[in-house]
Chain length 346, copies 2
Amino acid sequence: MPDGDAAPRRATISDIAQRAGVSTSAVSYALNDKPGVSASTREHILAIASEMDFAPAAAARMLSQGRTDTVGLVLRRDPRFLANESFFMELIAGLEIGLAEQHRGLLLQLAVDREAEMAMYRQWKAAQRVDAVLLVDFERDDPRVGLVGGIGLPAVAIGDPSLTGGLTTAWTDDATGIREAVRHLHGLGHRSIARVAGASTLAHVHIRDEAFAAECAALGVRHRILHGDFGVELAERHTNDVLDDADDPCTAIVYDSGLTAVTGLKTARARGVSVPDQLSIIGWDDSLLTTVTDPPISVMSYDVVSYGTAAAGLLGALLAGREPAAHLAGTPTLHERGTTARAEAR
Amino acid sequence: MPDGDAAPRRATISDIAQRAGVSTSAVSYALNDKPGVSASTREHILAIASEMDFAPAAAARMLSQGRTDTVGLVLRRDPRFLANESFFMELIAGLEIGLAEQHRGLLLQLAVDREAEMAMYRQWKAAQRVDAVLLVDFERDDPRVGLVGGIGLPAVAIGDPSLTGGLTTAWTDDATGIREAVRHLHGLGHRSIARVAGASTLAHVHIRDEAFAAECAALGVRHRILHGDFGVELAERHTNDVLDDADDPCTAIVYDSGLTAVTGLKTARARGVSVPDQLSIIGWDDSLLTTVTDPPISVMSYDVVSYGTAAAGLLGALLAGREPAAHLAGTPTLHERGTTARAEAR
């Protein structure tokens, strides 16, 4: 044999047709999942192709055309935490709606840290596992922008366009959203507001920080920001820290997620602080979770599922050869429920 | 050119090494994501390989070895509903934990119906998109068992082994679980119990139905079962139907999910029916959702994340050439919270 480690001669479509007792067209229909053969014939043909270790046309086409019809998404999250954070679940649901229309699948992988995430993109590119990737959780000077550019991996960013280095981007206007939250609380008479925020390294947290501080300053509202990790433990501790501060009693807290807002409500109640009579609470990202508490939680809300679908649409356009500009997928607006009321002195 | 539609001669590793000014070993390390080159050299090499349209070794290896390191999961669910159903989100999280250890990715795709789901498996097999699939939502005489066997697609079933046709199976003992729920309610004096269930075509719903009816009969408890679709609208209607029945007032309802139990609690409260004083409620599958209501909901609970991880483990064993038997990943047990109490006449 000319090639030392080559397998025996590869089966051809004719070999399969002969063995299955059908035409080569029928084999081709079956292998490419096209109409023209019955379901039972199709399965018979696929079974024989499999027995003969046939390297199917689609795999060969993938090599020559470099197409996988698969889009990759790496999440750098604790998986136990993931299931409780409705944002990612709704985003994935929205992506699936958009990708299903394009007949593309979503390859989902968790990574423990940034290095593992970067290695995944290199590996996916090297092995032609995906046609493109979706990038989430942007940080300032995010190294992924340079990486995907350097290795020629098409990417759509989900994040603020000021931080996605010119990548095609779907974003929501968080700055406008948090300004609305502050203005609403100010209108209710709140003059000292805390923000229990996510990790300060995350770009959208930083954007909310700046807009929150600026709006509070403009309205003469005292403010403080406590950075956490979107987890329950830190949200509880930070809520207690805010409520322990006797020198400057905050009358309202704005949380960066639904889960942390629910935690804040529970923490306040456990201390005997009445919500909303003594403390107003606003969460972020609407979900079932914030509607089933008593009282249900006022949130800055936008349609995360549609956000995901919009991102998938941008990705389809990108792969079709267009380079769409940044797409504003939504501006969070206040859904007032039961946790916001006029400020009372605590 | 001998081949009519062939591209120009494919670039080799030597071509890339020459252009990048590095050794062929360095190119090989970079393309296979192995240590031995710096991150910047790796990116330089990958960029050049990409420019030269290099068909990487990994893709060629996939063709010859038929390995993708990818596992497929098709969900036949409304995506807008998916984000609210914590079971699938936790299952996916658990799968990701197990698959990450195996360096495998999860290809996730939604399908509108059973036909679309079946077509997806054929297509994945024909195009060698996945090494194996995970099957969920088993029905009686499920046609997927025959399909994956027929086309030679390795599969791990997540469902009761009585219905998965001899496939390697991860399961939870739902029959034992629901019997415990009935016994507990009987012990609290409940003598008429309703079950607001999922779709009757689903195997695990049927298994719970039979065990529920048998246990009620054994204890002399009157019972009724109302089948729905795990959605909010039907859960509300069925709860109202149960509460409207003046001839045989139920004092307890067992729901098939967390979302439907939360809906039941809201529906009862909207009618002025006090939970748990006038009506006891038990949900299924623990999640944050059932803990943040007031009162928090008593549930039949097991660790869904671990269930997913166990299924991923079985899949790894299957792909390593073993054929693991059915694996009992958990038996739901009652987590009593605030929605169960002694029966009072309504």
